[in-house]
Structure formats: structure tokens, C-alpha cells
Symmetry: C2
Subunit: 353 residues, 2 copies
DNA sequence: TTTAGCACTCTATAGTATAGTGTGCTTAGC
DNA sequence: GCTAAGCACACTATACTATAGAGTGCTAAA
């Protein structure tokens, strides 16, 4: 059977209506739409065809139609009308983003919160690093008797520090010597490069401050390894409860629990090669718990080896047009913000507590 | 009417049973308990008395009894049997805690997660600072052309840093001069001490690196102000959905939303003068959304001017004995952990991204 | 090709009957 | 003066039935 223009129009109307009402859509409701000058019988025939083609489903014989996963897919790919963001919406998104954030994890939390607010759905945001960092520069500073501050600057221009307490005091010149040794031998190395042999060699040359070396190495390796990790935040989980398909507490709990348990960690993989906004309709989701749920995701650029992603989780019957529009605008605004040099303070280390 | 021993025993049994079953408790159920050698009629009389005294409530004429808020209060204060943690429980709690954590906010997240797991209820954890910090030491380090790393050590022994980018290069000796000036004039000051006049005076003496001063001051003041803030984490919100009293999605959503929106920020105030574990039964809660909900909280010591608190939110019909036992054990273990010096690495600044 | 008409299916809702649980009260026993 | 047994009464939860309403599919006519 061929998918005529009129069939597409009917399908779009069904999806639109179903998104609005969450109730199965009958033929009469379609005829009442403006721009639909056919009788309900005609629409019924078309709907019967669409059902046969797999785009619609019938909960039971005498109910209206509901879009199938394939129906949503077609809707998202071809039929959906672009949703235009109102000035109010863009303004509030922009305002929310402009608040400066200095630490990636805090930023991700904030972003997830805002996205969730903007879409009234649970939102995920994550920042993953591609390519590991190496150490660019070591510095050791005296900080009172028995205390030394280690400052490590990475190739990604992030700066981390650690307070080291010693049983004995070391002089400033001892530290200077050690710093020099560290900077000549231990910079520009991947975490695997910090072998016991290297450490031994450094300790032999490090002079009186040699006892510091193991602590320095341990901290550095740990830091480098953490560089490869992903920062993820989930926000607004409970907004899912507002959706009629989750009046069933058990169902809601299943989905929400899976959101919490980082079953989402495979989402970045899905986005790897994708560009722009990606929509995963129900069964297209890998995670079993999300088979009944749709995910909309989009990438944005943080710069400095960081790849950001924001996404939203909701019922398959979510307002894809609105959600994708907001998400895209969001991603764009974020990318722009990080491109502005005076705002791009992000990877500069900043410690709160 | 007097509250005889037997009445207390009946009340305790009713609360215990109701906690277990979440169903109104009838007189027959009580008689079937071991150690209850009275007929149902006698129990009925006692229950009628307890109802008259306000400790029990009747959903309707021919239903069993349910504890009132006053009933729970009495139960918590006097009747509750101490719950003994099993080895398994203490072990799993201890194991969970021993994982070292370096940053307060991350630690609070982790703690909230564990507490929620241990109690199967939503959990809150927070760390609030009493007494503001001041700057103990400034240090400026060159980090390649046009980049300077500012390291600030606070009186609390926390270390924070910031990468500053400059349009011009400054020499190491310029930075040394500036560091010295900063250390003589701007240490041991509260945030209000950083007046424009002081800043001007410092800039006059700072030599070629004077342009750095405004950035340094802004960052320092911001950091000091953040010291006073509270770190808070909520975890396991969706566990509330497992409780039968929250089968009603709307009710669950109301409570969960209030958990999210930091309506809990006044909880620390409640704990201020309290010692040990504190239980807030339903209407004793200040927050309107929690009137139907009980909160159990306890304090723990992080040291270094930080006060920790963990708490759990659940239906008034929660297992107070179990929850308070676990919470107290938790708090104790955490306090102990922070008291051990080799574990107490917490306030030593550590930056991830 | 479209549409009007109609019989049919299915659901949601209200109303009714019934079994079961629990109470309060009265009365009898210790 | 307690305690217990018995009984009428109250109320809920559950199943069952009837009914209205919405929507369909099919047929036949325009």
C-alpha cells in the first residue's frame, strides 16, 4: 500500500492529537480539525489503512487509534512541524545558561536542572572527555611547617592541587629541586607511564624531599585517570510522575530507578557518530526499562576535549517538536557560551571546599 | 484517664503491626500476638480508651485503629524497642563508608546514596560550615606565557586555585613581589575586609603585576563567601514510591518535589541544638508538604568547622526503630572515620575538572 | 472515490448485592 | 471491678449487572 499525502496528513493529525490529549484518537476528532474536509468514514478508511501499515495501533476494537513506534518514527523523521520557540522561551533559556559555572560537575547538574525545567521532563546531562590529559607542569609550595601544597597543571589547562602533610619540614630549596626533577621527568606522560622504575629514579635524584614523591605520583595518576571519566547529572526525575502514562506507580518507579542507576551510561555511545538531535523512540532504546519511553538527545561543545550532551526522557507520547526545539536551542546556546573566551573559564580549576 | 502499662503495651503493638502491614490494626490481630493473654473484647476496650486519649485513630467506625501523630510521638519517645543492627548491616554500612572521599559535595552525594540504600527511603545529607574562613597564604605561579596560577590556602587548610590568563606576560619576580604584597596585606581578613581602598593600596605597591589584583580579589572574596554555604545532597527520592502510602502519584509528586526544591534547608536549624537522633513526626514538620511525612535526622562530625547531618524522609508509618538505629550507626561511623587522621583528608583541596 | 447509515464491539460508570472485618455495648463470670 | 463472651450494627471492599457512549467496519448509495 502506498503512503499517500493524505495518509501522512492523517497520521500527523493523529500523533499531534494524541500528544496533546494522551487519549486514543477517533476518526471524528480528526474531521473536526481545520483543514480536514473529509467525512469521518473517509478518515476511518485511511486510519484502517495506516493501522494495516503498522503506523497506528488500536488498544481494542472499538477504541480510537494510537501511534505505534513506527508511527512516531515517521512523525519525527518527516511529519513533525517545526516548533518555533517564543521569545519568552529563548529568553528564559538564555538567562538560565548565562549564570557562570566553574566546575564541570556542578555545571552538568545545573544544566540538567534547567533542561528539565524547560521541558517539564526528567533530563540528563553529561560531559565526557575524549583523549586523556597529561601533566604540563608541577609546582610545590611550602604552606607552613610540615605542609606542602602540590599544584599540578594538566595539558587541558585544568589545575588541581593537594595539601600534603609531612612528619618533617622541608626547605623551600628542597622543594624547588624536587619540582625541577618532576618537571623534567614526569611531564607529558600518560598514567601508564608512571612506572615504579621511573619513580625510583626520580627519588634518587630528588634530594631531601624524596619522601614526597610517592604521594605526588599517586595523586597525579589518580587525577589523570579521572580525566577519562564522564560527568553525569540527572534532574527532575519526579516530573515523569506528571505524565498520565506514569500514573502507575510501579511503572514510574521502574523507569525512574533505571534513570538513577546510570543505565544511561551507554547513551553517549549512541550519540558518538550522530549529529544534531537524535530521537530514540520506545523500543529503539537499548535499556530494557526504557522500551516504553522515548529519549531525545543532542550534543554540544564545551571545548578543551570535553563533549557535552543533554537529553530528556519521557513517554513515547512526548511533544517531540517542542522538546527537540528546546533541546537544540539549548545546545546551541551552551556551545556559543563556551566559545566566548571570556566565559570559557570552565576548565580552569576551581575548588570550593 | 491514666496510661497504664497495659495500654502502653497495646499501643506499642498497634504501632508495630501498623508499621509492618500498613493496614489498620484490629483488636483480634493484637490478641494473636504472643504475650497478649487477653480477649479481643478487653483489647477493644483498651483501644477505645487509647482512641479517646488521642493516641489512636479510626479511619471509619468499623475499621481497625491507626496510630495518630501523638501515638507515634509516644512510641518514638518511650515505647519503641531498640533495633539491633545485624552484623551484615553494620558490615555493609562500614564498607560503604570506608571508600575515601575527597570533596565535601561528592562525599555528601555518596553519603546520601548509601543512607538511602540502607533505609530504603529517600535520604538527605548535608554539610554546613560554622564560622567563616580567612586566607592564610597566597601563591602565584607562572604557567606558560600569559598564564598565571593563583593558589589560595585558607585557614581551614583548604586549598583552592584558579588559572588566570593575561594579555601580557609577567616575569617570575613580578609574581613574587605581588605574592609578598598579598601575603602581608590581604591575609587573615573576612570577605568584608576586601575594600576598594585596600585593593587600591595593594595595586600601588604591586609593581608590574598589579593588573592581576582585581582578579585575585574577586576570586578570593567569592571563595570566602562560598565557605559559609551549605552542601546538600538528596538521593533515592524514588524509593518513596515503594511505600504504599504513596501509591497516589499526586501525593508522591508533591512530597518529592518539595524534597528537590530545597525546602529542606531549614532542617539544619531544627538540628542546631538537638543532640543525637531527632524524629519529626508528620505535623511536627514545618514544611507544609511534609505534614504527612516523618523525618528522622542525626548529626555527625566532619571536623574542621564542618557539621554534617544525615536524614531520611518517609511515611509517618516508617520503621522508626530500624531507621534510627541505622542512622545513628551511620553517623557514628562517619564521625569516627573523620576523626582518624589518616582518613581525614577531606578538607584538603582536591580538584577534578 | 466519497459519504451516509447502521449494526456491532468494547469500555467506562453507576448502581446493587454480598461477604467479611471490626466495633461497641450488654451481660455474665471470676 | 476486671475480664470475657455474645450479638447487633456499621462500614468497606469486591464482584456482578445494567447502561450509556464512543468508535469501528461494512454496505450501499451518491
Amino acid at each position: 500500500m502506498e503512503l499517500t499525502e493524505r495518509k501522512k496528513k492523517v497520521l500527523r493529525s493523529v500523533v499531534d492529537l494524541y500528544i496533546r490529549t494522551a487519549e486514543p484518537v477517533g476518526s471524528k476528532a480528526i474531521t473536526e480539525l481545520p483543514d480536514m474536509n473529509y467525512s469521518s468514514a473517509t478518515i476511518r478508511n485511511e486510519m484502517a489503512d495506516l493501522t494495516a501499515m503498522g503506523y497506528l495501533e488500536q488498544p481494542h476494537t472499538s477504541a480510537g487509534r494510537v501511534p505505534s513506534a513506527a508511527g512516531y518514527r515517521l512523525y519525527v523523521d518527516e511529519l513533525m512541524q517545526d516548533y518555533r520557540l517564543s521569545m519568552d522561551e529563548t529568553n528564559s533559556i538564555t538567562a538560565a545558561i548565562e549564570e557562570k559555572m566553574q566546575r564541570v560537575d556542578k555545571l552538568m547538574e545545573k544544566v540538567a536542572k534547567i533542561v528539565s525545567q524547560a521541558t517539564d521532563l526528567p533530563a540528563i546531562s553529561l560531559a565526557s572527555r575524549f583523549g586523556g590529559a597529561e601533566v604540563k607542569h608541577f609546582e610545590l609550595i611550602t604552606a607552613g611547617p610540615g605542609s606542602v601544597i602540590l599544584v599540578v597543571m594538566l595539558t587541558s589547562d585544568e589545575v588541581v592541587n593537594k595539601l600534603i602533610r609531612l612528619p618533617v619540614s622541608v626547605t623551600e630549596s628542597d622543594l624547588k629541586l624536587l619540582s625541577a626533577v618532576l618537571n623534567t621527568t614526569m611531564t607529558n606522560l600518560p598514567p601508564e607511564g608512571f612506572t615504579p622504575e621511573l619513580m625510583e629514579r626520580v627519588m634518587d635524584n630528588a634530594g631531601p624531599a624524596a619522601s614526597l614523591v610517592p604521594v605526588v605520583v599517586e595523586f597525579t595518576v589518580e587525577t589523570l585517570q579521572k580525566q577519562g571519566s564522564t560527568n553525569m547529572a540527572v534532574a527532575g526525575q519526579m516530573r515523569l510522575l506528571g505524565q498520565p502514562e506514569y500514573r502507575d506507580v510501579d511503572k514510574a518507579q521502574r523507569v525512574l530507578t533505571s534513570l538513577d542507576e546510570e543505565a544511561l551510561s551507554n547513551l553517549p555511545a549512541v550519540m558518538q557518530n550522530a549529529n544534531g538531535t537524535k530521537v530514540l523512540v520506545g523500543p529503539e532504546n537499548v535499556a530494557q526499562e526504557l522500551k516504553d519511553t522515548s529519549v531525545v538527545m543532542t550534543k554540544f561543545d564545551i571545548g578543551d576535549g570535553l563533549q557535552g550532551m543533554i537529553g530528556v526522557v519521557g513517554p513515547t507520547r512526548m511533544d517531540y517538536a517542542k522538546v527537540t526545539a528546546r533541546l537544540s536551542y539549548f545546545a546551541e546556546s551552551l556551545s556559543k557560551m563556551f566559545a566566548k573566551p571570556e566565559q570559557a573559564q570552565l576548565p580552569e580549576g576551581r575548588e570550593e571546599e
